[in-house]
Amino acid sequence: MTLPLPALDPTPLPAPAWLFHLLLLVTFLVHVLFMNVSLGGAVIASVHGLLARGSGTPGRRLVRWMAGMLPGSISFTITTGVAPLLFVQLLYGQFFYSATVLVGWIWLTLLVLLVIAYYAVYLQQSEAGGGTAPAWLVVAALAFLAVAGIQTLVNLLQLTPGRWTAVATRAESPLADPTMLPRYLHFVLGAFAVAGVFLGHLGAERAAKGPDAFYPWVARVGIRWALVATALQVADGFWLFFSLPGPLQARLMGGAIGETALFVTGMGLGLVVLILLSRIQEPARERGLLRAAGGLLVLTLVGMVVLRDVIRGLYLAPLIRLRELATRTQVDLLLLFLALFVLGLATVAWMLWTVARERRSP
């Protein structure tokens, strides 16, 4: 038995749907970049912290370094996550609310996990001296991995209204969808790759400033993580593709030109990134190659965000068409938002620039 989809709210959208759709994708992309650094960074540093023996080892130093960076990146993961949360409710509220209600307590657990992770990072930071174990960072990393699982679960449930009744009556586990695991791995491996390249860049940049052996090590570690994660991603990508519903596979494999082109481009970009990463031996000395790999990785991420959205559209196609949603544009508010958005970004840029300048020449 499939129950009716909740009715659409009768109030028209206050701007064309494409604009909110664009804002959803752009803000989601920024959110994912910060999220990848937080999740991937916490996991990478935890693993090397656990492998390290003794306080003076680079692994333990990586833990301290990462614990110093994480509060900022977590904070911006959350801040930038609020906007896509707002726009997804606006455009896909019928699906979003239903999915979250069906796994309501699990959904709320996400917040508890984030509070734990956040304060765990601060606790790791406050561990004085060099001999400390990465225990708190491990707590944070595990919490982030669980949060990723909850997000995957809720996002997938949104796309599959046909399963809702079965999930609501507990006839079926919310986890039962065949794409759940490959989808989860797709996100987590992506986070390792982005965080790895981020560490590669940061390590190489610091290495250029002085003879400290720690930074070239960080850069190598980062690139190695990115390489392995991207290689696994290729395998997982195939798994995810073949677990998608048949009609969706058909559209991505030649059934629809635009969607197929996007899919093939995304995969191609991923492969190029893989090849570039595999050629980096000493990242601190191969900055050009590193920059190319990083730039292409971000481009791949852009492609994947769009592809993810296209796949959402394919899942929901019979039920909602964004361009058919009623609209009554509030022009004054739209302009006010855009003006404040630019002004806000300019203010943040001014603060960062001024602080950087004054710190260089106190």
Binding site: S75, V82, L86, Y97, L333, F337, V348, V355, E358, P362
Partner: protein, 437 residues
């Protein structure tokens, strides 16, 4: 309600929202008032070269950012999570009307967080001038967030001309917008001062400390005065029907009002006594007492504001069970079961299951079975026929309660379920044709 239901046992969904939201608003108002307090204190301290005041401003800023960037931000997201679960229809409606308001508030949120993290990280590392500028940006962004959200929160109680025009600005600058802004500004100041006491109580007891305690106490007292003015103005602007739920003796929220007023009065006394007569005695205990009183007053106000909005979740537009006013006639004619189809999921088929579905879809948003606003004691010992008559009379609603909606047969099914729930009605409900459609 159209959506799957998220029913919270015992405390009910509204208290799930409330518990998270009250924590959030306290932190958010501490952040707004604290932003101003820190930057003003830093400015005064820098001019006078007062190291104790500078130490205080620095410690207060770290405490504030730790609190607001983590727990404040996450309970803010928590508001989205909880209202989406408990009141999806109302949340969807608010977002459709105010998405630009929230988008603008989000811009301020980004600026606020960036400024807060930079302000804390750059003490003594950049010039005083730039540091103060970043502090002012932090405060301005935090206050502008309040300026925006205040419009949406007050709209829910007093939508004003929006009911006719459906225009954003009519809803935003509604009858309680300005009084509420004055009140919330006052609350932000009073919370910042008492939170400051908590931080100052842990500073070394130097000769300069009593002056700092007085400085913070006068912030809070100014906040108390502003709060009283805003509150009085707000009460004048609130519709009479809503006011009646809180003010006359015997009304639903009388106790909460009493607690809130008592807490505010006691806070003023504590502030005057310790701030001006015994500033040397301000240690951890008076600071915690003042903070507890401030939080009690603020929490009571929020509880009353939410409480007097009943029977609406959005004033004059949507009832607290998610049914819009413009739907009532149609649902009375065509039946409500279609709208609340999800409320029937998982119910075993039986003579009272339709009634139970209606109860879950229409009543359980506010009434738990045995906990908060428990229904069982209200229907105990009553038979289905008598209950059906009571429910029919409730089609006009009663103060604080939405009207019963549905066809005559649906109301009978609800009565049968309630009679079975109350115990003695079970026989009638289970007998053949026991009031079921």
């Amino acid at each position: 309600m159209d959506y799957p239901l998220f029913l919270v046992p015992t405390i009910g969904g509204s208290w799930l929202i409330g518990a998270n939201a009250i924590l959030h608003v306290i932190i958010a108002h501490v952040a707004v008032g604290g932003g101003l307090l820190i930057v003003v204190t830093e400015q005064i301290a820098a001019r006078r070269g007062d190291t104790l005041w500078l130490t205080f401003a620095r410690k207060q800023s770290v405490a504030l950012v730790l609190l607001s960037s983590v727990l404040g931000a996450l309970t803010g997201v928590g508001i989205w999570f909880t209202i989406g679960l408990v009141q999806p229809a109302a949340t969807a409606s608010l977002i459709h009307n105010f998405v630009w308001g929230w988008a603008i508030e989000w811009v301020f949120f980004i600026v606020e967080m960036a400024a807060a993290l930079l302000y804390v990280a750059t003490w003594d590392k950049i010039s005083r001038r730039t540091h103060l500028k970043i502090g002012w940006i932090y405060f301005a962004a935090a206050y502008l967030s309040l300026v925006v959200i205040n419009g949406i929160v007050t709209f829910m109680l007093t939508p004003g001309r929006w009911i006719e025009t459906k225009a954003f600005w009519d809803g935003f600058f509604n009858p309680t917008y300005w009084p509420s802004l004055v009140l919330r500004t006052g609350i932000a100041l009073l919370l910042a001062g008492v939170y400051g006491w908590l931080v100052a109580a842990r500073l070394p007891a130097e000769a300069a400390r009593p002056a700092l305690i007085r400085h913070l106490g006068s912030w809070s007292l100014a906040g108390v005065a502003l709060s009283i003015a805003g509150l009085a103005w707000w009460l004048v602007q609130v519709p009479a029907a809503a006011r009646d739920l809180a003010l006359p003796a015997g009304s639903l929220l009388r106790q909460t009002v009493g607690i809130g007023v008592g807490a505010l009065g006691s806070l003023a006394l504590v502030l005057a006594l310790f701030g001006f007569l015994l500033p040397r005695a301000v240690g951890l205990a008076p600071a915690i007492l003042a903070l507890a009183l401030a939080a009690t007053f603020f929490g009571s106000y929020e509880r009353v504001r939410e409480g007097i909005r009943k029977p609406f979740v959005i004033g004059q537009y949507m009832y607290s069970n998610g049914i819009r006013l413009d739907e009532v006639d149609r649902l009375n004619r065509q039946g409500v079961l279609g709208k609340i189809a999800w409320a029937g999921v998982g119910l075993a088929a039986g003579p009272t299951s339709k009634g139970e579905q209606i109860f879950r879809g229409q009543c359980q948003m506010c009434h738990s079975l045995d906990g908060y606003l428990a229904i069982r004691p209200l229907v105990a010992g009553q038979d289905a026929e008598g209950l059906a008559a009571v429910l029919e009379a409730l089609r006009d609603g009663r103060p604080g309660m939405p009207p019963i909606v549905g066809t005559e047969e649906e109301v009978k099914a609800l009565a049968a379920y309630l009679a079975a729930l109350g115990g003695t009605g079970r026989q009638a409900a289970l007998s053949p044709g026991g009031g079921l459609p």
